[in-house]
Every structure is written in structure tokens, then in C-alpha cells.
């Protein structure tokens, strides 16, 4: 693949990082501040989209910032895999921004300047992870993301939020310093480089035991992917304002974790190496356990956001599972699920937020009959859940279908069973919410509360993302092409 | 160099040192320390180090002891060990 040197990658990453400065400076004028936020969001998406044709044509861009360690520069590179993720993240960020404005304004939250600034830094770090050319750069942006999302989690500043923030940092920083960093150093020590190379850089460099250790360290080290037992931060982080949960803990942060694992699997180890040492099984086992356990726990949650959080934990493991199958279809399904789940889950979170803005209700048991008052929100919620369950004609179907084929190709009945059971469980924890919303009798005195749809700034984004889920079923070509370029360069 | 003298002074030096750290009266200990310094000075003079001996006589046995005494008179003479 030919990469041409260009400043576009760094521009795409830095635009929101530098954008945080005018946001901070215009803290006293909310309109200006949020104007900046929108301008940056759209600008960033356009920058990234402008690079898409070249990537689809099999090319890419590269930019080296500084060579800080011998053989390990801080380098950004736009390739198919990065583009795939960046496209999803930057597109959804626009709608999250719009939604944030509506949400924060209607709840009259405090500290909004800090909120928007941190958000801008976070999206910058997300795109940075997507465009990293080597593991070191990835780690750099990964840490930046951890630190910039900490103020967002602790946003409420009450005791609960602080405790959650502590938990969040403990898990995320603890694992990245404790596992990922040594793993990265060990890799460097073995291979002498950290560049992402298709086919991996570790071939012939280490024995089975070392490789297994490395893989485990990496998988647990990128705890943002929520592989059990390092998933505890995700439900805790749900104390954050809903736009944070929806975007960061539905899309950016968790997907960064999965993306990092996939990067390591595809470009550090290489599927062939994993196959040679049967390490894919390790991944699939970890992922399967997480999927089943998380889905079961999700069933028992009454807090809507917590249920979504556990659902996220399960869904993330689908992606890891797909990668672990090491079959073409499986890996395709795993990667595709990043996009499909992103659209679906963000819709669900936005709906949860909209419900909270409109009714100040957090618990599923209180939401009887709410759907009739908020039909748009609930319809979107239905679409989102169906996509995640994997029903046609929604995007989730495509990725799940590929996963199933992958499992069949790999000849693993057990994995097939896991997929089927978990899909049933998905249905079991999502559909009752919709059912209760539309068909259950409203609790007494509900009429007096005068609940109606959330503000337009909230409703429009969630409708768009729900429709996006639908559209992905019919037009998945771009994403499929990117996945194909990643897996079979 | 007369080894008998040498040995005598060395013994005295060690005795003085032991006494210094074991006396409970700090003022007395300091005075003995002055004696110790002076013995050292003799020892060095006898070893041919006249400059060092001279310095030790003025500093160790002289000024240093005076400083110690000044400080002890300003504080306390007693010591528990």
C-alpha cells in the first residue's frame, strides 16, 4: 500500500484539540462556545471524509510528528482500518454535539465549558487512536482519552460521581499502565519496532508462552474493551451525563478499547501467528464468557443506563469474538460490528437521555406507558434494539450474519451456540422495555406530569442515528470495502 | 619515629575516645575530647605531618573545644548516655 505524506491526518486529529482552546476562552458566551463545538465537529467529519476516496482506492496518508524513541516515532497514518473507525466516530460526534447542547441546556448543568472542552479533547484522542501508525502512538492517544474523559465521568462532582471517577481511572489507568505498557515494552524488546504491519511484527520472534502472556496482557490492558473481569468501570461510568454515556461509553471509549485489541490482533500478532499457536481460542473463550455473563446481568438491571452498559459489555465481546475466530467471515463480522453496534447503541443511549430529559426517569420499572407520550423516541429505541439483536433489515444483521458464518467456517458449534443464546438474551432484555413503553398501563397520576417529547435538539439526533442503523443494512458497501482492505490488503 | 612513644600515644588516644563517648557529663567529655585532639596532634607531629598537627592543635584542641564548651554552657551538661 502506498502512503503519501500529508498533513491531513494531523489536521484531522488536532482540529478538535486546538478547538478546545476557543471553547475554553469563550466560556462566558454559551452560544459562541457551542457554535465552536458544532463547527469543529462538522469540520472534523469533513476532513476525515475527504480522505475516504484515497483510502478506498487502496492508498492512505502518513504524517510523522517526532521521532521520540529510536524506531518509534509519533506517527499518524490513515489506513483502511483507521478510516473505518474514524468515519464512524466523527460522524456520530456531530449528532452527539447537537444532542449535548440540547441536553445540557435543558438540564441547566454546571461546568459546561469544562464539559465541552473535555469532549473536544476526547474526540481528538479517539481519532488519534484510529489514525495511529504504531502501538506507541496508539498508547499515547489511549491515555489521553482516559484522562480527558475523567472530568466527564466526574461531571456531577457529587460523592457518587467522584467515586465512579475513581473507579473509572483505577480500571482504565491501572490496566493500561499495569498490563498494556509492559506488554508494549516487551513487544518492542522482542521485535525492535512497534509499527502496525499487516501480518504482524512478532512472527518468529517469540515462543508460545511469551505470546500467550503478551496476548493476555494486551487484552486486559486495553480494559476499555470491557473484557471481564475488567469491565467494572463501565456500569460505574454511567453516572456521567447521558451524552457522555452515549457517545463515549457507547461509541468512542469502548470502541477504542476494541479497536486497540483488533489492531494488536491484526497488525502486531497477525492472524496467521495466532492461528499457528491456537491463540484465537483464548480470545474466543474470554469473549464468550463475557458475552453470556454480561447479557445475563443486563437482564437483572432496572436502571436503564446500567442495562445498556451491560449490554455494551456483551456486544463489545462480539467484536473480540469475531477477531478470535480467525476466519475471514468472523473477522469481517467482528470489525463490522464496531460500526453497526455504534449506530445502534448510540441511538439507545440518546433515547435513554431523552427520556430522562423529558420525564426525569431513570428506572425501567417507572417507564410504563411512556412510549405513547414519546412515540418518536420509542420508535427509535425499537430500531436500535432490533439492530443490536441482529434483526434484518437493520445494520446489526449484517455483522451478526458474518459472525455466524465465521463460526460455521471455523467449525465451532460451541461458538454458534453462544451467538444464538446471546441473541435471544439480547431480545429478552431489550424488547420488554419497548413493550412496557407502548402497551403497559401508565402509573396513576402520570397524566398530571404532562410528559411530552424531549426538545428537538435531542430528538433529531436520535432519529438520525436510528435511521442510520436502518440505512447501514442497505448501504454497507463503504464499510465492507474498508474491512476488506484491512483484512486482505 | 619511636615506636614505644607511638604505641603509648595510640593507646591513650583510644582510651580518650572511649572515655569521651561514655562520660555522662558533657562538659567533661568535651574537655577529654580536647585532650584526645591534642594526643592526635602529637601523633601526627611525630609522623612528620607538622602542618596537620599544627592545624589540629589550633582547631581540634583549641577552637573546636571552645565552640563545644560555648554550646554546652548555653544548653545543658547532662547526658543520659
Amino acid at each position: 500500500m502506498a502512503y503519501q505524506t500529508s498533513i491531513w491526518p494531523i489536521a484531522a486529529v488536532m482540529i478538535s484539540l486546538l478547538g478546545a482552546i476557543p471553547i475554553l476562552l469563550s466560556g462566558r458566551q454559551p452560544n459562541l462556545r457551542e457554535g465552536w463545538t458544532l463547527v469543529i465537529a462538522v469540520g472534523k467529519f469533513l476532513l476525515i471524509a475527504s480522505m475516504l476516496p484515497a483510502v478506498l482506492a487502496g492508498g492512505g496518508f502518513v504524517f510523522t510528528l517526532a521521532e521520540v524513541l529510536p524506531g518509534v516515532p509519533i506517527q499518524l497514518r490513515v489506513d483502511a482500518m483507521g478510516m473505518f473507525f474514524a468515519l464512524v466516530a466523527s460522524f456520530l460526534w456531530i449528532f452527539t454535539s447537537i444532542y449535548s447542547i440540547g441536553y445540557m441546556r435543558s438540564l441547566e448543568e454546571h461546568g459546561q465549558t469544562r464539559y465541552f472542552a473535555s469532549f473536544a479533547v476526547a474526540i481528538s484522542a479517539t481519532i488519534g487512536v484510529a489514525f495511529s501508525a504504531n502501538l506507541f502512538t496508539l498508547y499515547l492517544f489511549y491515555e489521553m482519552l482516559s484522562l480527558s474523559t475523567y472530568p466527564l465521568v466526574t461531571h456531577e462532582q457529587n460523592a457518587e460521581a467522584r467515586a465512579s471517577g475513581r473507579k473509572y481511572l483505577t480500571y482504565i489507568l491501572g490496566t493500561s499502565i499495569g498490563f498494556a505498557l509492559p506488554a508494549m515494552l516487551l513487544t518492542y524488546s522482542l521485535a525492535g519496532t512497534l509499527d502496525f504491519t499487516s501480518g504482524g511484527i512478532l512472527v518468529g520472534k517469540a515462543d508460545a508462552a511469551t505470546l500467550t502472556l503478551l496476548l493476555i496482557l494486551f487484552v486486559f490492558g486495553f480494559a476499555k474493551a470491557g473484557i471481564m473481569p475488567f469491565h467494572g468501570w463501565l456500569p460505574a461510568a454511567m453516572v456521567a451525563p447521558t451524552p457522555v454515556s452515549s457517545f463515549l461509553h457507547g461509541v468512542a471509549v469502548v470502541k477504542v478499547g476494541v479497536f486497540s485489541i483488533l489492531r494488536v490482533v491484526f497488525h502486531i500478532f497477525g492472524p496467521d501467528l495466532l492461528g499457528e499457536f491456537h491463540l484465537g481460542t483464548a480470545l474466543t473463550v474470554l469473549a464468550s464468557i463475557t458475552i453470556i455473563v454480561a447479557s445475563l446481568v443486563a437482564l437483572t438491571q432496572d436502571n436503564l443506563k446500567r442495562r445498556l452498559a451491560y449490554s455494551t459489555i456483551g456486544q463489545l465481546s462480539y467484536m473480540v469474538l469475531g477477531a478470535g475466530m480467525l476466519t475471514a467471515a468472523g473477522m469481517t463480522g467482528g470489525m463490522l460490528h464496531i460500526a453497526m453496534h455504534a449506530f445502534g447503541k448510540i441511538t439507545l443511549f440518546l433515547c435513554a437521555g431523552a427520556i430522562y430529559v423529558a420525564s426525569h426517569k431513570k428506572y425501567i420499572s417507572q417507564m410504563d406507558g411512556l412510549g405513547r407520550k414519546m412515540p418518536v423516541t420509542y420508535t427509535a429505541f425499537l430500531l436500535g434494539s432490533l439492530s443490536i439483536i441482529g434483526m434484518p433489515p437493520l445494520g446489526g444483521f449484517i455483522s451478526k450474519w458474518n459472525l455466524v458464518i465465521g463460526a460455521v467456517d471455523g467449525g465451532s458449534l460451541l461458538l454458534l451456540l453462544v451467538l444464538l443464546v446471546s441473541s435471544l438474551l439480547n431480545a429478552a432484555y431489550f424488547l420488554p422495555i419497548v413493550y412496557r413503553g407502548f402497551f403497559a398501563a401508565s402509573p396513576e397520576g402520570a397524566e398530571a406530569e404532562g410528559i411530552k417529547e424531549a426538545p428537538l435538539l435531542c430528538v433529531i439526533p436520535l432519529s438520525v442515528t436510528a435511521l442510520g442503523s436502518l440505512a447501514l443494512f442497505f448501504f454497507p458497501d463503504t464499510f465492507l470495502q474498508l474491512v476488506r482492505l484491512t483484512l486482505f490488503p | 619515629m619511636i615506636w614505644q612513644l607511638d604505641l603509648l600515644i595510640l593507646t591513650l588516644v583510644v582510651v580518650c575516645a572511649v572515655v569521651v563517648i561514655n562520660l555522662k557529663d558533657l562538659l567533661a567529655a568535651t574537655v577529654i575530647f580536647g585532650v584526645y585532639s591534642f594526643m592526635m596532634c602529637l601523633l601526627w607531629a611525630e609522623m612528620g605531618a607538622v602542618d596537620v598537627a599544627f592545624t589540629e592543635a589550633t582547631v581540634g584542641a583549641g577552637v573546636s573545644t571552645v565552640l563545644f564548651i560555648a554550646a554546652i554552657l548555653r544548653t545543658t551538661r547532662r547526658s543520659k548516655d
Binding site: - | V14, I21, M40, A49
Partner: protein
């Protein structure tokens, strides 16, 4: 045993220096009284000086002051005088030692002002109250 005794006799100065060093060292770390610690430090430092001076001694060597004119005309033989270098070093060491003693005594007076005692355990007791 004989070999050991020959060794001791040949180097008895070094033995004495080690004994003095041990006395000083013990006073520094084992004694509770701060003045005693300081005296110990001084003993330690004189012990080191003794080591260096002993290293400079030459059997049959005179003091390191020569006759200028004789030296300029006939030169000096190294064996005639003891080694002056350790003396120089130890002059410096003595100065350092008295400086440290001065500063330490000043600090002791401050401690006395603050706590009214110079016993380490009593001070710690007062601090913990």
C-alpha cells in the same frame, strides 16, 4: 597466628584507626544524646585523618619542608621526606570537620530553644504529643 600477628604489627596504625572509627561510628548511630553524636562524628573524622596521615608516612622520611636553595641547586630525593599529599588533603578535611561541627552546634542550640532537651528520645516524645 604468627602470620596474623606479623600483619597486625606491620599495620598497627590501621588497626587503631579502625578502632577509633568504630568508636565514633557507634556514638553517631547508637547514642541518644545529640552532643554525643556530634562528638562521635568528630572522632570518626579524626580516625579518617589518621588513616590518610598513616598512608603518607615513610620510614626514615623527614618533615615535608625543604631547604629552598639546597633544593634548587641539588634537587630533593623523594625518599627524604614524607608524602605531603595526604597532609594537604587532611588540612582540608579538618576544616570541613570544624565547619560541620560549628553548624551542628548552632542547630543544637536551635533544638534546645525549641524543645529544651538534647536527648533524641525526649524530643521525639515531645513531638508525638
Amino acid at each position: 597466628m604468627d602470620a596474623f600477628m606479623t600483619e597486625v604489627v606491620a599495620k598497627y596504625n590501621y588497626w587503631i584507626y579502625v578502632i577509633l572509627m568504630m568508636i565514633g561510628f557507634y556514638a553517631m548511630i547508637g547514642k541518644r544524646n545529640l552532643v554525643k553524636k556530634l562528638l562521635g562524628l568528630n572522632i570518626f573524622q579524626t580516625a579518617i585523618i589518621l588513616l590518610f596521615i598513616s598512608a603518607g608516612v615513610k620510614r626514615g622520611g623527614g618533615i615535608p619542608i625543604v631547604d629552598k636553595h639546597a633544593a634548587l641547586e641539588h634537587g630533593v630525593h623523594a625518599a627524604q621526606t614524607v608524602n605531603p599529599l595526604p597532609h594537604v588533603l587532611m588540612l582540608t578535611a579538618i576544616v570541613v570537620s570544624v565547619s560541620v561541627t560549628g553548624v551542628a552546634l548552632a542547630v543544637l542550640l536551635r533544638i534546645w530553644r525549641e524543645y529544651g532537651t538534647l536527648e533524641e528520645d525526649e524530643i521525639l516524645e515531645k513531638l508525638s504529643q
